[in-house]
Amino acid sequence: MAENNVENLKKIREAVSQDLLGGRIDLLLGWEKGHYWWQSRPLFARTEEDLEKLTWDSFCAINLSRYLLDELKDFQKVGVLVKGCDARAFNRLLQDNMVVRDRVTLYGLPCPGMLDYDRLAEVAEAAPEGIIEQNGKVTIKTADGEKSADRDDLLADKCRDCIYPDPVVYDQLLLSPVGKKEAPEKFTAIEKLEEMSAEERYSYWEKELSRCLRCYACRQACPFCSCRECFVEQQNPRWQGRAYQASENFMFHLVRAYHGAGRCIDCGECERACPVDIPLQELNRKLTKDINQLYGDYEAGLDAELEPPLLTYRPDDPAAFSEK
């Protein structure tokens, strides 16, 4: 990305500024540099001046589609830059009747995968101070010098198992497609969990979930969480106790996972957002795997026209119950 970063960014900016200045969109959702060089945060651009801040680099991991939930209340026409996962998230919102298709312009950005600061630090074995990208290699600069590594080894967790880096829905595709990818490891962690005994599995999750701060960052980042009032906050009935203890944490995460059954688009935003690194994607993927097994392969978010398995009825639907 880095080599033609400047050129790509120019292309993107040209396309969106035409639309923003021409009034075809009232707001553009993109990314701008954050506090640190290894963070790109959402940009809400309304003017040419705002667009100056637009960025497209290896740290634009944040899924922008979800911001539509709020922005469409204030703006009539919104443009969004969508990577593969943002586009699938958009389909999720579309299927959930949360967005109006013709009020949104989607600018497709085929995505090479985003880099992760922790991975950089791990590989560099020191605090990274900057990177240079060239030909699929990344040179990490640290106080002690430089370290080079394959770009693929530095990808954020959420990008490692990505199958659809190209947007599956868009109005304009701004860059050239990178192609479908393989993700043979996608369900490996789940298979391991399934092999555990019920007790082992319980203590695994007890350990993981006991760290949960109940900050609800996972929910806030998630494109399938679009309830007006989440069950955890409802007073009547009170589904969720307030105590920060394993059983309450279980309640929150398991119910949330069930709410995503057949709906999770596997963007990994929950896990990326989690400040205490709970492997939340495992819960979602387990349900995805079960649903695929029960009702045939279905990839949520790929096609907004395809009815989700739990919203359709076929006479030969199995009624099996999995105990794992």
Partner: protein, 661 residues
Amino acid sequence: MPRTGVFLCHCGSNIAGTVNIDQTIEASRNFPGVVHVDEYRYLCSEMGQDIIKKAIEDNNLDRVVVGTCSPRMHENTFRKAAAEAGLNPYLLEVANIREHCSWVHKDMEEGTPKAIALLRAAAAKVALNEALEAPKLEVEKRALVIGGGIAGIQAALDIAEAGYPVDIVEREPSIGGRMAQLEKTFPTLDCSACILTPKMVEAAQHPNINLITYAEVEEVNGFVGQFDVKIKQKARYVDPVKCTGCGICWEKCPAKAPSEFEMGLAKRKSIYVPFAQAVPMVPVIDKETCLYFRKGRCQICEKECPPQAIDYEQQDEIIERRYGAIVVATGFDQMDPSIYGEYGYGQHPDILTGLEFERLFNASGPTGGKVVRLSDGKPPKKVVFIQCVGSRDKARGMNYCSKICCMFTAKQAILLKEKLPDAKSYVFYIDVRTAGKGYEEFQRRAAEEYDVAYLRGQVGKIFPEGDHLVVHGVDSLSGKVVDIKADMVVLSAASIARADAPELGRKIGINTDSYNFFNEAHPKLKPVETHTAGIFIAGACQTPKDIPDTVAQASAAAVKAVGLLSKEMLQGEACTAEVDEAECSGCLHCVAVCPYTAIDAKEIEERYGDGTLKRTVAEVNPALCQGCGSCSAICRSGSINQKGFSNEQILAEVDAICLQR
């Protein structure tokens, strides 16, 4: 605080045998809100109900819990009793102690604590119950009968005679069903057509009956009293008003196709009526084989038809109509016995099914009423009947007994002897089953007066040898191997459900059993009702049966339908779903899962900032809602709640059970 009364039933010794009544009653006293407890041997009896009524009045109870059998059994009984004592009936909850404790646990050790837990849950739930009012619904005073066999005809005649209009939707071009294919009928040997045709004509001429033949039900919406049905009238390409049924068209038509009515044993024309006594006597054009439709040339029927009734431009039509009640009478099929390779069905023209053989006796059948071999046209000397082909066969066929085969085999053997006095019949059977008035006598006559040899045993193989079929079997009574050089073999293929029964069941909202026959609501006490109110079943679509049983069931279904149509108003569902618009995000997943299409999207306007914002929410049509709860289960935010089963109530139940542990 509510004032709740808890009443525990012994159900004779059903409950009392596995639940310690005293202990349970004592525990119930301490549930929150409980001010009165009592127990009785049979709460559902008049005495029992009086105990509840009196306690409500004496103790000023405003909530009641009864610990009895399943609510499916007696919820209504107790609700009525509560209402008689002045309590809103929906302020009563049933804890299912009998089925959930007594029938699943062996001793008091297990049964008692569970009974206490269930009562505690019910008491916690009932505290949150609200008084509900069941809506009153109108009844469309018209019935629909699906299937025009003898079952459908009889049901329609009875409903019509009671004064209500009724439509019969029949898939084939004529009504009549299987009975029209039969020659004579056991046990009295009356000619089938002679007793059926008058009924067919009566149905056609009855001012209250409207025949919709060559048509199928496409869609059923709505509910008891108000079923909205879409019927597809297939194009006949003949104008039924102009057609006089003169028969010139099918006489002149040059194109032929296998006759469905004769099960392929004879040909019919491309424009045809299925059989000579068809009602209505209006032909249809089979587009697949018609020369004009296939090649664009011919039109002979159009030229020849005196009243110019042929209309190639006719299109399928959708008829939409509302009905108060539906009777399903779609009958049965015979199994294709070719899966039994050893019997060679389909490989030799002289191996037939019972229904095919029946047609050989019929004067208008494929052989003009001569019983002959289809291979060479010679009359058979020896005919072997094989029973239970596909019936009572767990491994390859159906577990059940098809019920009619022993009798129609005896009938056909008798008819054979009457036609061909030299012919000899052999019947291989497992058991001969002839329960029914005059049935045993009829079968004995076959054996004793008509020289029919009954061989108990099974046939292992049938193979051709010269111009014979060797039937190789074992007579299990003598233990001897028997080889019979037969001229013809007749297989009593199992009676099975119509292939499309499950699909039809889904369209109309009734279910099928594991063999695809339609399920009755109760095997003993509700044999013509289904689990869907207002939909009844009759005839062989429920399970194989003979004509007398079919007709009896059809009249029973008609009475049920008439009983419904004669009501001024029906009570609707009180426990309908409700949307909390403030919470509803408008995802409309509930719309997708509602089996009764009771939910729609609705636009609302809401304050936002200084202005307003339009957004979508779900809206339940309480007249359509049947209170199934599917929507409430799919709604992630708990924004759609079923009255009487609200999320609060269910959580209260869960809490009550968990807290006790």
